[in-house]
């Protein structure tokens, strides 16, 4: 989580000081939206090709676990 925080922090610290205009809007705004679009694509692909199969396999293993009600 800390690595992730450092990585996103570095990206943002690089984007915020940008100057000029991209696609008719201020550059930091365009850059943030572009990064967000890429992130959405990465999230969708990561889920489709990694988390979904991991979760399916984990759900199979969950069914074999003993259950205990402590709540």
């Amino acid at each position: 989580m800390l690595v992730f925080l450092a990585a996103t922090g570095s990206i943002v610290s690089g984007v915020l000081p940008l100057s000029g205009r991209w696609l008719g809007v201020p550059a930091p705004m365009a850059a943030l939206y572009a990064l967000e679009a890429v992130t959405i694509a990465v999230l969708a692909l990561t889920y489709r090709f990694h988390w979904a199969s991991r979760a399916r396999a984990a759900d199979r293993r969950v069914r074999e676990l003993p259950r205990q009600e402590t709540g």
Partner: protein, 499 residues
Amino acid sequence: MNHTAGAILLVVLYVAVIFVKALRPGRGQDASPVGYFLGGRSLGPGVLVMTISASFFSMYSFMGAYGITWRTGMNFLNQGWWMLMFLSWGGVFVGARVWLLGRRFGFITPADLLAHYYDSRAVRALVVVLGVLILFPYAAIQFSGVGKMIEGFTDGAISYELGVTVFLGFTASYTLVSGMRGVAWTDVLQGALFAVVMFAALGWVSLELGGPAGIVQEVERVRPELFDFDQGFAWFLNLSITWGIGFAVLPHIWQRWYAADSLKTVYRSSWIVGVVSWALCLPIFFIGLAAHVLLPELTADQSDALFPLLMSRYLPTLGMFVVPAAFAAAMSTVDSMLLSISSSVENDVYARLRPGASDAQRARVGKRFVLVFAALLMVFAISDIGRSYIVPIGNASGSLALVLVPPLLGPLYWPRGTRAGAVTALASGSAFVLVTLIPEARAALLPQHGLLSFPATTGLLLTTAVFAGVSLVTSPVPYETQAAYHGTLEQVLEGTAAS
């Protein structure tokens, strides 16, 4: 029919639909605490996404967020960024593990998990108090927002107090009857309603001003300074840490992880919640900016209410839907919080005092606590003392939620975490955040600038340091407990054999 009467009629219709929707899923629900408070751990991905998003998007989306965009311009983009970056991973890093341990050990509340792992009544008590401090004022803010909106919309014909009372009556009634499953399904409807109203408004504003780029260019001509990130990187990062990390451990969100029907649901919901929340920031950002052109006479004092003002000026027919949509945003947050606070008191206090109580008795008592807390919230939201403390404590909700993060590392990631570490971290972290609510104490304890000037980030660092430091010099939890937790996590998530 004038638009005020139309809006009131829509609210009545909306409440009727919510009641029908809330009652239906509750019918087949089993009469036990798990059935009532967690919907029998049966929520699928669609419902989970909507109930998490709707619970997270509160009255703030209608009566605050637009004003922030209006006042701070491009700085608001921070919200979409951290929602996408952090909410998407909350389920992966926290939700999946919390779900698995909840399923394995039958947990209902956040305190169950931490108290069971550390085998500590003190941990349970601290987590319960922290949960109430996180949720209670935040829920009261919703009441306050609705009361003000109704009073403003009806030109004082319906007073703040009456608005709060009526809103509370509706919300408490369907929460009481339906429990988690009904609340989750009403959240689906409520989330859809406020998303449709917000995007319909964005569509109209875009047509008027030439699309999102047109909005930016028009606003740049009149307020170019709004397009500087002048709040600074530290502010940006602090907000990301506060809500991005704090979100997954807010008590009512934590319980939604428990309520999922499978790990696949948790993983799938997690990234979709991030994308949905990010998308909901788009109308807030562009409409908040566009108000500089469409409502040039607006003052800073009025800016929090710019969305209903804009709608009533330009789109009175769509504007009629703003009141029920704002109701929906507030109700979907309050119902979840009411259920979470009640479950905490029933499960973590009553059930410990009455260990022989049957499941049906416990569920009945839980329902009574829903009523008790609803009444307390109303008193708090209406009283002068309550009103003066609502906003400062409510604003500290995210900082207080972060205090739960380091002790949670013990059962989820770090077997070396100890009971003494958890107790001291919870006590010192909460005390620190609460003390920094006093301006003089904040000035004395924190630097004036930089990341450490924010109580949330400093509190998280302090709590982490205390937890790690104390844990390293005290005895770890018994090996059997470590093996049961970390062995389960490894066995299921990594597919390795249990140790």
